[in-house]
């Protein structure tokens, strides 16, 4: 491109003093402020995450407290339609539960599983990637073989498999208690590969650089080298992967729960709610499944947008 004819820093500005100022003025902040879609996405994500966190306090009704449920309220349509009730803004389900409250609590579970599985995948992936890249040799080969094998299968299949196997291995009565951890494990294990590959690439590049060689010669402990030198360089791409991964993790969890394999029925996530509501689609009570669906899409979409923005903003080639 013609713009390549200019040297890389021809249009760069000298950094103003002060770290906070630098953040505000940085390329990152600039591209954020000038992209309305990204700002909207950030706002939506913030709102959803906050309302999920505060669910126990801001939900109009506690959907788990059976005492507050009244079967007479069952199938109440949304408040703005005919037959609606202002107590149930988004309507009520077959047990008289407020759909809005169910969604708020459901988002909590969805987000919890999403975040923890991404964290898990990132930790596993980054560690394995660092080991593979830095140590090389047979460690590298083994890890990369595993990655290759796993990559030839879609993540959902792997998650299904792990969930299914755990189910078969654990005795039935433990299912409900451990289901949450099983889901996190399943999703986490299906997505570690991308982190590993990226970090490994970074590690390989940094490892051959002179300052790392120097550190090794001096005798700096390998863990220190990894943590202080190699890791910071890989953080950028890892963040991008994590954000995009988050949306995927949330969707995967919803899918697993929809199939009946994810979180236990005592802690319904958005996917569980959708599954339950699906049964009533034909009889016309669409709100029980559609509103959780909208919440899910909103969450996934805004996280995806944030991830897209982050990727473009951190991509040196697009500057």
């Amino acid at each position: 491109m013609a713009i390549d004819a200019l040297p890389p820093d021809a249009t760069a500005r000298p950094r103003p003093a002060g770290r906070f100022r630098r953040l505000i003025d940085s390329e990152l902040a600039w591209s954020f402020r000038h992209s309305p879609a990204t700002i909207a996405a950030a706002v939506v994500t913030l709102v959803l995450v906050l309302s999920a966190l505060l669910a126990p306090w801001i939900a109009p009704q506690d959907p788990f407290d059976l005492a507050t449920l009244d079967l007479f309220d069952a199938f109440t349509p949304p408040a703005w339609t005919e037959g609606g009730d202002p107590r149930f803004l988004l309507g009520a389900d077959d047990q008289g539960r407020d759909v809005l409250s169910a969604i708020l609590h459901g988002m909590r579970v969805s987000l919890f599983v999403g975040f923890t599985s991404v964290l898990f995948a990132a930790v596993v992936g980054v560690t394995l990637g660092l080991l593979a890249g830095y140590l090389g040799g047979w460690v590298d080969s083994v890890i990369m073989r595993m990655a290759d094998v796993q990559l030839s299968f879609p993540a959902i299949l792997i998650a299904l498999l792990i969930d299914g196997v755990a189910r078969s291995v654990l005795p039935r009565d433990l299912h409900a208690d451990t289901a949450l951890y099983v889901v996190v494990l399943a999703i986490g294990l299906s997505y570690w590969v991308q982190y590993a590959r990226t970090v490994r690439g970074s590690a390989l590049v940094e490892r051959s650089k002179d300052y790392v060689q120097a550190a090794r010669v001096i005798g700096v402990h390998p863990l220190r080298i990894l943590a202080h030198h190699i890791l910071p360089n890989a953080i950028g791409p890892v963040l991008v992967i994590a954000t995009i991964n988050l949306a995927l993790a949330i969707i995967t969890e919803a899918t697993l729960s929809f199939l009946g394999l994810g979180v236990p029925p005592t802690q319904p996530s958005l996917g569980t709610l959708i599954r339950v509501g699906n049964d009533f689609l034909f009889s016309g009570e669409w709100w029980i499944t559609i509103f959780p669906g909208i919440a899910l899409v909103a969450l996934a979409l805004s996280v995806n947008l944030l991830g897209d923005w982050l990727r473009d903003a951190l991509n040196p080639k697009l500057r």
């Binding site: 013609a2 713009i3 004819a5 249009t11 000038h34």
Partner: protein, 325 residues
């Protein structure tokens, strides 16, 4: 009449922090069959000028002022399709990296015949024969076999020869060579420059040779334009610019070329560095680094003033005789 005339060309780049002038008021002319060298540091605007001449500026870069005339006709404002017909046929181009200039998925012959067929009325068979001929002309051994080879099967120097063949295959009258040897081994560089020189002389092709290598210019060009911060510092016949530079920047460039033999002292350099696009100084762009700068240089941007046989944008030459002349 000059074959190519660039008048007061201004290329702007709108950025987040305002509009920058990457090329600001550049004027020069190339006579048919002559070689104009355009020399300067990275970022001086030389490649952009060449890209603008051949009409391949990509947005957000755009021509914001001035004119480009080819054979007396304006070409800077032509619609795409008309410019496309000129490209390749009348104005050719060679870029820096032969490795990435060729499509790896097509044979060399296919890329040649495609270009020939686009611009001429030949049949495919004739085009193929011509392609083989061309490969021979640029010095590729066994062209009848090599014509069906893929780019990755050639070495760097051979690839650049193929690129030259592609650029010259339908005999354009002007070729823009943008750093044609920078990516090659030093030993190959001389061969490629010699080839280019010979072919252009044989076909009467004018050349705009963009490079940062003064040595290549001295050997190959008839005239040279020295660019600095998007402006032309000095322009004139090559011998005069090199022997008697009129602009302090040119003088600095000449002085910093180490001479083999001769007294060994420290390498001379010009202190400081070329300003980036958004911090171009007022007045003369070079004045902060110029040993001869005076008050006027900081205030007014110098026009191109005659200094003997060259033109230099420097107030040092604003003598009474020059003003009258």
């Amino acid at each position: 009449m000059p074959l190519l005339e660039v008048q007061d060309l201004r290329i702007e780049l709108p950025t987040r922090r305002g509009t920058l002038a990457a090329v600001d008021g550049v004027s020069f002319a190339i006579e048919p069959g002559k070689v104009l060298g355009v020399v300067g540091e990275s970022g001086a605007g030389k490649s952009l000028t060449g890209t603008a001449v051949i009409g391949l500026l990509e947005p957000p870069l755009r021509i914001a002022g001035g004119r480009i005339l080819f054979d007396g006709r304006r070409i800077d404002n032509l619609p795409y399709e008309q410019m496309r017909r000129i490209r390749g046929r009348e104005i050719g181009a060679i870029f820096q990296d032969p490795l990435t200039s060729l499509n790896p998925l097509y044979t060399v012959g296919r890329q040649l015949t495609e270009t020939i067929l686009t611009h001429t009325e030949m049949t495919p068979t004739q085009a193929r024969r011509r392609a083989v001929e061309l490969l021979g002309e640029v010095g590729i051994p066994s062209p009848e076999q090599r014509v069906d080879a893929y780019p990755h099967q050639f070495s760097g120097g051979m690839r650049q020869r193929v690129v030259i063949a592609l650029a010259l295959c339908v005999n354009p009258r002007l070729v823009i060579a943008d750093e044609p040897t920078t990516a090659l081994d030093v030993s190959i560089q001389a061969q490629i420059i010699a080839l280019l020189k010979r072919l252009c002389r044989e076909h009467g092709t004018a050349v705009m040779l963009v490079t940062h290598d003064m040595g290549v210019i001295a050997e190959t060009a008839d005239d040279v334009a020295v660019m600095y911060a998007g402006r032309i510092a000095e322009i004139g016949p090559v011998r005069d610019v090199v022997k008697n530079p009129g602009h302090p920047y040119t003088a600095g460039l000449m002085a910093s070329i180490p001479a083999i033999g001769g007294p060994r002292d420290r390498l001379r350099q010009i202190d400081g560095s070329m300003p980036r696009l958004f911090e171009i100084p007022q007045g003369c762009a070079f004045h902060p680094r110029c040993p001869h700068a005076f008050a006027r240089c900081t205030a007014e941007r110098p026009e191109a003033l005659p200094t003997g046989r060259t033109l230099a944008a420097c107030w040092l030459h604003d003598t009474p005789e020059a003003v009258d002349a």
